[in-house]
Amino acid sequence: MTDGTERHEDRIRAFLSQCMRHPAPLDLEDRVIRRLRRRPLWLAPFITGTVAVVAVTAVAVVAFAAHTPPNATLPPRPATTSSPASSASPSPAETPTPPATATPVPATQVPAPTSHIALSGALAGELTDVQATCHLHERVNNGHNFDSPYVQAVGVLNGHSVEVDIFDPSSFGSWEQAAHGMVTEFKSLSTSILSGSYSSWIVQPPAGISQFNLSAGVSFDITVQPSWQGSFGDAFTPKRPLTLTGSIVC
């Protein structure tokens, strides 16, 4: 091997080292994990094929059109500006908004608003141990770069973790389903992608989502339709829609 060849190869190696140091997006891992959670596994064999993706998308659009929720024309829920004063309060969804003429309460005495989510239908009850996360984005840089902001709450219902994602109504929604509301029930206390089987419900039109604020949270009164099932463990298919009422507060 000549000196010139060695010098060339050293230069190639140095160049490749520079290439490999290209910085990745700061939120790369988080987005990977979030998107894995959302991807319906039954679509998996088709997702990577161009023709199949187009075909599946067309089928999905027809299917979703047929499943247009009956409440698609529901007016947005009035803005909820208050939260329960104590744990003994009734369901947050029924908590009346103080009249505008009410005597102002000093800020120091007003408890900080908290997230509360009540479910009825396929799942019934109020989520406990709700943890809200704002400033989330579903980003895809696949040709038509796209960015849908959303907020998320994870809570517990009957010993199962339930994840609620509400997308900005003015955005496209989720990447795969164009959904603006998604509920996933994990059959365990973990929301890990492989923690066990899960079932999901989605709502496609953004009706019923109000006061979306990527920094502060969102209020909602929506009916979400049965969607896909996870294939891990004892997967089951949700049969009935569920109604989701409450707010996510960050």
Partner: protein, 167 residues
């Protein structure tokens, strides 16, 4: 069925999630070196991890998932067609979280020549010169004959040396 709300704070992560956090950036760099486009590299990682996730369920935990992920990543980058655009006409701002101005740090002459290589040639150069794979190992990883790898490498080097001829 567990019913104790007291267990709510116990959220156990599956080993796959730490694997995503451990390998995503390395795979991103590799995908970028082959695809030469940060947005495409970003998409590649999403797909690579999805494929790995599906396979993980069938094969179980790998003792050393690094080479396995490398294989999936390289082959995904090579099979991905540049014309594949799964969009529905949406427009939005490009993810601004990718720090800029990296390209300027690269050897500009070599970068121009490297950009003219085919993806398969880039992959062979990367695997052989940077990751230290032998030509036989490259052939196994890429699913082709060692002679084919030699051919790709020879053509790639010829292109790169054109730019380095004046050194």
């Amino acid at each position: 069925m567990p019913s104790s709300v007291a267990q709510a704070s116990v959220r156990v992560d599956h080993p796959f999630e730490p694997m995503v956090r451990l390998h995503s950036r390395r795979l991103f760099a590799m995908a970028y070196a082959i695809l030469r486009d940060p947005a495409e590299a970003d998409d590649a990682i999403q797909e690579v991890m999805f494929r790995a996730w599906r396979a993980w369920e069938k094969t179980g935990e790998h003792a050393d998932p690094g080479p396995w992920l490398t294989r999936i990543c390289v082959n995904w980058c090579l099979s991905r067609r540049a014309s594949l655009r799964i969009g529905w006409g949406r427009t939005a701002t490009l993810d601004a979280t990718i720090p800029a101005a990296h390209a300027a740090a690269e050897d500009p002459q070599l970068a121009a020549a490297y950009a003219r290589l085919t993806r398969r040639q880039r992959a062979v150069v990367l695997l052989h010169y940077h990751l230290g794979y032998s030509l036989d190992e490259c052939a196994e990883l890429l699913g082709c004959r060692p002679g084919t790898v030699r051919s790709h490498l020879g053509r790639a080097l010829a292109t790169l040396r054109e730019e380095m001829r004046d050194d």
